[in-house]
Subunit: 172 residues, 2 copies
Amino acid sequence: MKLGEGVEAAIHCAATLASVEGNSTMPGAALAEAFGLSPSYLLKHLNMLSAARILESVPGPAGGYRLARAAERITLLDIVLAIEGREPAFRCGEIRRNGPVKIDASAYVKPCGINAAMLKAERAYRAALAETTLSDIVADYAEEGDPRSFAASCAFVARHQRPQKSSSTKPA
Amino acid sequence: MKLGEGVEAAIHCAATLASVEGNSTMPGAALAEAFGLSPSYLLKHLNMLSAARILESVPGPAGGYRLARAAERITLLDIVLAIEGREPAFRCGEIRRNGPVKIDASAYVKPCGINAAMLKAERAYRAALAETTLSDIVADYAEEGDPRSFAASCAFVARHQRPQKSSSTKPA
DNA sequence: CCTATTGCAGATAAAATTTATCCATGATAA
DNA sequence: TTATCATGGATAAATTTTATCTGCAATAGG
């Protein structure tokens, strides 16, 4: 059981974008620089977040990414599912049917109990992830994080965010 | 987020071994046959279960595998950790430190809030897995499963289990 | 003792997935 | 018109997963 590295990058980027003011955007290259990541690869992940309607993208100069909705309404689960896919971690291969003795398919209409137990655990995992929002992450960082690191983050965002001409969604 | 196929095989095998009587064993080849799996690869997984003290192995003819303790005291978590490893699925790469502005390491003594939230979810996952024991799986199968399939499983176990000379652990 | 069966460790290889880079294209602000 | 930026596709490198094989140690049964 393993989560790809993209998840960490995606959450950090989304949290950073939560600090961007109004409908301003931040270029992908700036986000890559903020965390020392490969720009070309990070774009893939940002793209998945866009496809999942977690981020919005604005093309052209002064373009970039911003949150597609309020940070209060973006959970860690949203991000993890966008990056890792919506498939459950445990995939039942129905190997119970592969024995030497062939039994009629009607014997397997009830779902496999093992699968059920594994999926139940995964629901617990997802429920826990759904309890934390991006705004929780940001608030925790502002309150509990080191002031030096927090100030540096704020400065970085202020330096790289780009205001947009006309608003489309929520004007702060 | 993905679990290897070995987990499914391991749980099914362990559940099968839970039906073996007394201190009898069942050869790995028989378990592979029971689920249509590659014998040489399944042995790897059975071995991990042995290393984790979930199974015991007996060498020599009439040898094979059996549970190392009562099915009531083996949880799905035990098996998943034995196969997938004990590392958490989310591994924090501390990319928060990789920004262009270098900050003293003392700013990062507090753990990353994102990591904390992800680990919290994983604890929920593991707690849910720990709630289901092998005996739960077997009992559910006996009560809720199809009688034809259950009878076939019992017959298969009866045909392949091999009694041992002298007992070491629990004589049923 | 001898032999056949079985678990075990290690080397190896095939396949799939993840990670990463590059380039051509389209949008758009200046 | 130009420079900046997101997008999508093609591609490749790296890593992990899956799978097989071989030689070795243990042992029940003759």
